[in-house]
């Protein structure tokens, strides 16, 4: 804050005068021979009181630092060290004895003719200085109390006391003298007596202290302290308690002042009400007394200051605001405050100061304005009322801008800008001070909540309504507080304007216009140049300050400085440029350009380059000039369509007129960071070519539409490829230098052999001249003897003119941003120019690869494959190339989705379920072929099996040169290592696999006819014994059908018995006979076998595994009649689920009978129910209509009760009475199950003719109950005659 009187801005605090700590005065008064005060003996330094004083002084002086920004409200004093006899400034000029005394005024009053404010000043910094440095609110005096030396023998006590009393009286007198002067001013006097520790314990001390106080007239409270030498920490405590004790009196002191001033102000405002205003005309030229408004300002300001002393910020703010508003009224009227007078200037400062104080609050006239404003601003900021502070600051500036216009110092004058700059600067400095301690700059952007939980809590707190309201409100951008950098920047801008205005004023003066602006004359008088220089110094200072602050406030602390910083840096550079420090400017430009280039802000770069170039010119740095000119050419900076030649003319002029510092090596202008001078694109027609085949390419070089390069003396263009070959050089040659450059030219580069490189440099000639927007196309082709990737790595243009040798390297970029949307072009016709777009991405490179080997892979097989066989697949590989090839084969069997299918492939001695790797096929001479047989074995269900076959061939010539053994890549990987001369041929094969033989089973169940074991047969209870009673006979009929389309040679069909507890094969129709022979598709074989099944008692519905399997051994019948390898198909018997029975009657009758010969009919009634008994009656009903049979035996009878599992046989003799088929009887049996319901009506029991007894498998209805299926109810007998 050095731009305004510091007094007006400093945060005020109660002032404390401290006397008696002067080190030199600290010679203990008790010492009779005082040591020479000029030099400090070590003894004096070790004196405890000396140390105490020094420590006290330190502790007190650090209490408070004088600062503009001091928002803490701790009870600390502004400590000033004075002499004990320090005098205060006189209240009035006249001595009190003077009779005029009561009418006299303070020396600083405008009413006092000798005052600097006479006659109409308002208030001066000196007044504040008076209160901060000359007048304390509290006076603290440190003194030594007399201590008589330790009692020595022989010394009289009375003598000692008398001595003490004498010394104390002296002390009291000194204090009383001091007390008199402080009392006059209402200043609190406090005495601190320093005594040794021994003294504290002295019983006489109390009495002595009382005596001293009484004698000196000190206040009873907080006026007398005793301190003995103590440690540092205790001193701190003492200082704190001293301040606490004196705080009240200090505040009281300032309150009294305030009251006094308020009385005076009231008196004045009353007076003003009836005082006639003096017309300014009347008083022109003569001293005018201060007007009532002025007095108001004066008193308000004083009250504000006193309030500030008391640390009552709100009261101070109020008074400052009042002062400020009155001041505004004064400024508003030229009558009250005629512009451009001394008072006016003063008032302005005051107003400014008030403003600052209000913001953190600052007033003084002239200066005071700014300060008042500053003070106001400060006070607002203490309370974090940023927008109020800013709005005050803004309205202050606006009001005074208006006033300024009224005063004739509007925006066109440098004074205005100087003043405005000062405003911004004061504010910026204030903020800077503030931010160094407690002030936080708010962000208009909602800061992120530190945690989601907190956020939730906040959102709970803030009601939805409240948030909405805030959203709607928005904010006044004018009142958004920003960091001080911005305000420094503003100040700098204003100062810059001020300089501009001043220069204009100077100019107009030199043109003869007389300027009468007093300020101007004032400034001019000093020294124009100094002013200009000072102004530039100030604003470069301000810019630098802003720059630093922006850096500080910019969180991006990476190598990338903020863009705001760059902008300010640019301003600084401009300032340097304006003030002639070109080297500094250049350094800045260099740094700034980097970011602008990277972010391609051409619009910002153009002026920068121009100015940079101007700097380079000024510095005489020709190399830099050339560099910049080339870059400007590239950007087309400052170029217009109308004058495309301007830049190249500049460059030519420089080249012709100057000499480079180094002539024997080229000046390389590297534009890799910025745009290149020509748009270049390289297009290869083919993405890939074979070794030795030329790959055509085009190199398109076009100039920008607004920059002509027609006279730039390009001498050659070197085209560097990415391989280690010498560049292709295109030399400039033009028959007619004045000929107009056509818009599209084409030159042929011819064929370029890259590997092996030709020893001579390839050179061609072409006209390397570009008009604005013209294009040169260089066409050619490259070829390589080995596989590689070819691209153009860079182009180097050489410019030679007089002594200059410049090289401009350009890297053809694949995608220059501005051309990224335009596909690269291929010139197909020069006249008219016509281009074909190349819509490939990799157009900038061409890949040279080995020629593919011509390998023929033929695969043959007789599909489909049969499940269970090893299916042969023939792979025939033929080398149709001219080279010898080493062939290796990979086979991959893809995994199938079929469950439990274990398939495998086999070749030679390798066998795998997935991959057969690197099956060597040997070296094939040209034309030779190799046949490989691959076997595919299938298992599981029918379906498709997929095989990938990869044939890799490698030229043997290459293989010998390659040290590394060839590592065959995965057969599915299509890419081989690029440099190996290797080709892979891929084949994929899908082989359907089908069953060779189908089988169909039918099963019927029969009841056994042999007698059941008796109920009591003990054998049946033995373990491991089949339960013959429950056994059912199953007859399995299996039909085997050959479905293999090729036909099979069946070698053998056998049934492998796998009898187990529940089922066993009783007999089988497949004897050991020979089925062998060729079976064609559709041939069938039928087999029957009887199986004895014992259903599980507990789980009658569970299927029972078939007790055997048919094994068919077969061979594939090849198309050529030969037989394939032997294969086996196993066909298991079906699983069995026999039905169950309850009460059943079995009728056993012979099929035929002789006439009249008796035949036995046997009826067996079985109770197969597991738990219930059965009571059955049997009834034989001969056929009523045809009396064909004669029956002998029981016709109607009752069978004894059948226990579960019991059977009853009943035999009847029947004789046929007539020939033919007859039914011996509709035999019937009725039975009742259950012992209890024996009397009930019985059910009819099924009678089954065992000859027809065939039941299908157990059938269940929806509810899981078995459904009984009964067949063969009626028994027929053929009676033969």
């Amino acid at each position: 804050m050095n731009s305004y009187p510091a007094e007006l801005l400093v945060q005020l605090a109660p002032v404390m005068f401290v006397a008696g700590l002067d080190v030199q005065a600290q010679q203990p008064p008790g010492n009779a021979p005082p040591t020479p005060s000029t030099e400090q003996t070590p003894a004096a330094r070790q004196d405890p009181f000396y140390i105490l004083s020094a420590r006290l002084k330190d502790a007190l002086s650090v209490q408070r630092k004088i600062g503009v920004w001091q928002p803490e409200k701790s009870k600390t004093f502004q400590v000033i060290f004075v002499n004990k006899d320090a005098s205060f400034p006189p209240r009035k000029l006249l001595r009190p004895e003077d009779p005029q005394h009561s009418a006299a005024h303070s020396p600083l009053s405008p009413l006092t003719p000798t005052s600097p404010l006479y006659p109409d000043g308002i208030i001066a910094p000196i007044w504040i200085r008076k209160h901060t440095t000359l007048l304390p609110s509290v006076f603290v005096m440190f003194m030594r109390i007399f201590e008589s030396p330790p009692a020595q023998a022989g010394q009289d006590d009375r003598e000692r006391e008398a001595e003490e009393r004498r010394r104390d009286t002296e002390l009291s007198a000194e204090i009383a003298h001091r007390k008199k002067s402080t009392n006059e001013r209402g200043i609190k006097l406090t005495v601190v007596l320093m005594a040794s520790r021994r003294m504290l314990d002295d019983p006489t001390l109390d009495g002595r202290l009382t005596y001293i106080r009484r004698q000196s007239g000190l206040d009873p409270r907080a006026a007398l302290f005793v301190l003995s030498p103590v440690s540092q920490a205790e001193i701190g405590d003492f200082v704190r308690s001293l301040q606490d004790a004196l705080w009240e009196p200090a505040l009281e002191y300032y309150t009294n002042h305030s009251k006094r001033v308020r009385r005076k102000r009231n008196r004045h405002s009353q007076v003003a009400s009836y005082q006639l205003p003096l017309t300014p005309m009347a008083s022109a030229g003569i001293a005018r007394p201060l007007r009532p408004e002025g007095w108001t300002v004066r008193y308000e300001y004083k009250m504000a200051c006193f309030a500030e002393f008391r640390m009552e910020d709100q009261v101070a703010l109020k008074h400052y605001q009042d002062a400020y508003s009155t001041l505004i009224i004064m400024f508003g009227s030229t009558a009250i405050l005629p512009p451009r007078t001394k008072r006016w200037a003063e008032a302005k400062v005051l107003a400014d100061c008030i403003n600052v104080k209000v913001c953190t609050p600052p007033i003084i006239i002239g200066l005071s304005l700014t300060y008042t404003v500053a003070k106001i601003v400060k006070l607002y900021l203490y309370n974090n009322e940023h927008s109020l502070a800013l709005s005050h600051q803004n309205s202050h500036m606006r009001k005074f801008a208006d006033f300024s216009r009224g005063w004739g110092i509007g925006e066109e004058t440098f004074e205005f800008w100087s003043w405005l700059a000062r405003q911004h600067r004061v504010f910026a400095e204030l903020l800077e001070q503030g931010t160094r301690s407690t002030l936080k700059i708010p962000s208009p952007y909602p800061t992120p909540a530190p945690s989601a939980a907190l956020l939730a809590a906040q959102s709970l707190e803030a009601s939805q309504m409240g948030l909405e309201a805030m959203r709607v409100l928005g904010l006044n951008p004018n009142q958004a507080l920003q960091h001080p950098g911005f305000y420094y920047y503003m100040a700098a801008r204003c100062t810059e304007r001020r300089r501009e205005r001043f220069m204009t004023a100077l100019e107009s003066e030199s043109e003869g216009h007389q300027t009468n602006s007093p300020g101007f004359i004032n400034e001019k008088k000093v020294d124009h140049l100094a002013i200009v220089l000072e102004a530039s110094n100030i604003f470069s200072f301000l810019y630098t300050r802003a720059y630093e602050l922006f850096r500080k406030w910019n969180p991006q602390n990476t190598q990338n400085p903020g863009r705001l910083t760059l902008w300010i840096a640019y301003r600084i550079a401009q300032t340097y440029y304006d003030s002639g420090k070109f080297d500094m400017a250049v350094r800045f430009f260099e740094r700034i350009a980097k970011t602008y280039r990277r972010e391609s802000w051409g619009s910002l770069l153009h002026p920068l380059l121009s100015q940079w170039y101007a700097c380079a010119q000024q510095l005489g740095d020709v190399e830099l000039s050339v560099r910049l000119l080339v870059e400007m050419l590239a950007y087309g900076a400052n170029a217009s369509e109308d004058d495309p030649d301007a830049l190249q003319d500049d460059l030519l002029a420089v080249l012709k007129s100057t000499v480079p510092s180094v002539t024997d090596e080229p000046l390389v202008v590297d534009l890799s960071e910025s745009k290149s001078i020509l748009d270049t694109s390289v297009v290869f027609w083919d993405p890939e070519v074979d070794v030795g085949i030329p790959a055509p390419f085009q190199l398109i070089l076009s100039s920008q539409h607004n920059v002509s390069l027609s006279s730039i003396p390009f001498t050659s263009l070197a085209i560097h490829f990415n391989t280690d070959v010498p560049p292709v050089v295109v030399r400039h040659s033009q028959a007619d230098p004045d000929a107009e450059v056509p818009s599209v030219q084409r030159f042929d580069l011819g064929q370029i052999q890259l590997i092996p490189a030709s020893p001579d440099t390839h050179e061609v000639e072409a006209a390397l001249r570009w008009a604005a927007g013209s294009t040169i196309v260089l066409t050619g082709s490259v070829s390589s003897g080995t596989p590689t990737q070819i691209s153009v790595s860079k182009l180097v243009f050489t410019i030679k003119e007089s002594n200059w040798w410049i090289e401009v390297p350009i890297v053809p970029r694949a995608a220059q941003l501005e051309h990224a949307l335009t596909a690269p072009r291929w010139l197909c016709s020069v006249d008219p120019p016509r281009f074909v777009p190349i819509r490939r991405e990799d157009h900038t490179t061409v890949k040279v690869r080995w020629r593919n080997h011509r390998i023929q892979v033929a695969i043959s097989h007789d599909g489909p494959a049969y499940i269970g066989e090893e299916f042969p697949i023939e792979i025939n590989i033929t080398n149709e190339d001219e080279r010898e090839l080493d062939v290796v084969l990979d086979v991959l069997l893809q995994p199938t989705e079929i469950d439990e299918a274990v398939n495998y492939v086999a070749m030679d001695d390798q066998r795998s379920t997935s991959l057969l790797k690197a099956v060597a096929c040997g070296v094939l001479a040209p034309g030779a072929s190799v046949l490989k047989k691959l076997y595919l074995a299938n298992d599981g269900a029918p379906g498709e099996r997929v095989i990938d076959i990869s044939v890799q061939s490698q030229s043997t010539a290459q293989a010998t040169t390659q040290q590394q053994p060839v590592s065959p890549t995965s057969p599915t990987s299509p890419s081989a290592p690029p440099l190996l001369d290797k080709t892979e041929t891929l084949r994929t094969l899908a082989v359907p696999a089908v069953d060779p033989i189908e089988v169909e089973h039918t099963v019927v169940y029969r009841r056994p006819t042999r007698p059941q074991p008796g109920l009591a047969d003990l054998e049946t209870f033995e373990s491991c014994k089949r339960d013959e009673a429950a056994a059912v006979e199953a007859v399995v009929t299996s039909t085997l059908r050959v479905v293999a389309s090729s036909g099979l040679v069946i070698e053998n069909v056998t049934l492998h018995r796998q009898d187990h507890k529940s089922a066993s094969v009783v007999d089988c129709s497949v004897p050991e006979e020979d089925f062998s022979g060729e079976w064609l598709a559709g041939d069938e074989l039928c087999n029957r076998c009887r199986v004895s099944v014992v259903p599980d008692e507990d789980h009658p519905a569970d299927p029972i595994a078939g007790p055997g399997e048919y094994e068919v051994t077969w061979r594939r019948l090849m198309s050529d009649g030969s037989h394939g390898s032997r294969s086996t198909t196993r066909l298991p018997l079906p699983s069995l689920t026999p039905p169950s029975d309850g009460l059943i009657a079995l009728l056993d009758a012979p099929t035929t009978a002789r006439l009249h010969a008796p035949i036995p009919l046997r009826l067996t009634i079985r109770n197969l129910h597991p738990t219930r008994t059965a009571t059955a009656t049997v009834q034989l009903e001969p056929d009523a209509t045809a009396d064909a049979f004669v029956v002998a035996g029981l016709r109607h009878g009752r069978v004894p009760i059948l226990l579960p599992g019991q059977e009853e046989r009943n035999a009847v003799q029947v004789a046929g009475a007539g020939a033919g088929v007859g039914q011996p009887g509709g035999g019937g049996a009725q039975g009742t199950q259950g012992a209890v319901e024996s009397q009930a009506e019985g059910e009819e029991v099924e009678v089954v003719d065992v000859r027809w007894d065939e039941r299908p498998e157990r059938v269940e209805d929806e509810e899981g109950n078995e459904v009984k299926v009964v067949k063969g109810r009626d028994g027929y007998v053929l009676v033969l005659p």
Partner: protein
């Protein structure tokens, strides 16, 4: 009377911080100044974006970036990271966020419509172009529609400004802009 917003300049900046389009609507003022303003405000935008990412905010509107000299600079970022920066003339009045947002939305729409132009990609290589180039191309002098749309929005605002007090409450603004956009 609602405050009148005066649009001084508009800048569209690509995600890579390259300028797409910068238009100024102030007669006789240094156009370069707004280029600088657009460029420098990217600093603040970056800062805000960092904040937004940290708080997982998806808010496009970046609020007031800074005020300098006679302009207040506001920022907006589209979901695809294109930054829109406007400079409003600085007045001592509350600027409602809703109003600024309306302007931003209008500009965003203008931008979206312009970038959707399929002809921007007419000559592009099939697989080689990137979207960034498309954004930049939209602002290039070759394509006039984007300029026109932005200028129309600027004019609509200026028109309001000239009309001044009798143009009624502010919500009209969005209608006018909507009209401009649909016409």
């Amino acid at each position: 009377m609602p405050p009148q917003l005066r649009l001084n300049a508009v800048a569209f900046v690509s995600p890579q911080n390259h300028p797409i389009l910068i238009r100024t609507f102030v007669q006789g003022q240094d156009e370069l100044k707004y280029h600088y303003i657009a460029h420098t405000s990217l600093d603040v935008v970056d800062e805000r974006i960092t904040t937004a990412i940290a708080s997982k905010s998806t808010e496009c509107y970046l609020n007031l970036l800074y005020t300098m000299e006679d302009v207040a600079v506001y920022g907006y970022m589209t979901p695809l990271k294109v930054k829109i920066i406007i400079a409003l003339a600085l007045t001592d009045a509350v600027v409602r966020d809703a109003d600024v947002l309306t302007i931003f939305r209008a500009l965003h729409t203008a931008y979206r419509q312009s970038v959707a132009n399929p002809f921007l990609r007419l000559n592009a290589p099939i697989d080689g172009y990137n979207d960034h180039a498309v954004l930049l191309a939209a602002g290039s002098p070759k394509w006039k529609a984007f300029r026109k749309r932005v200028d129309d929005i600027g004019k609509a605002l200026q028109h309001r400004f000239i009309l001044g007090s009798d143009s009624g409450p502010f919500p009209l603004l969005s209608e006018e802009i909507a009209q401009v956009l649909t016409s």
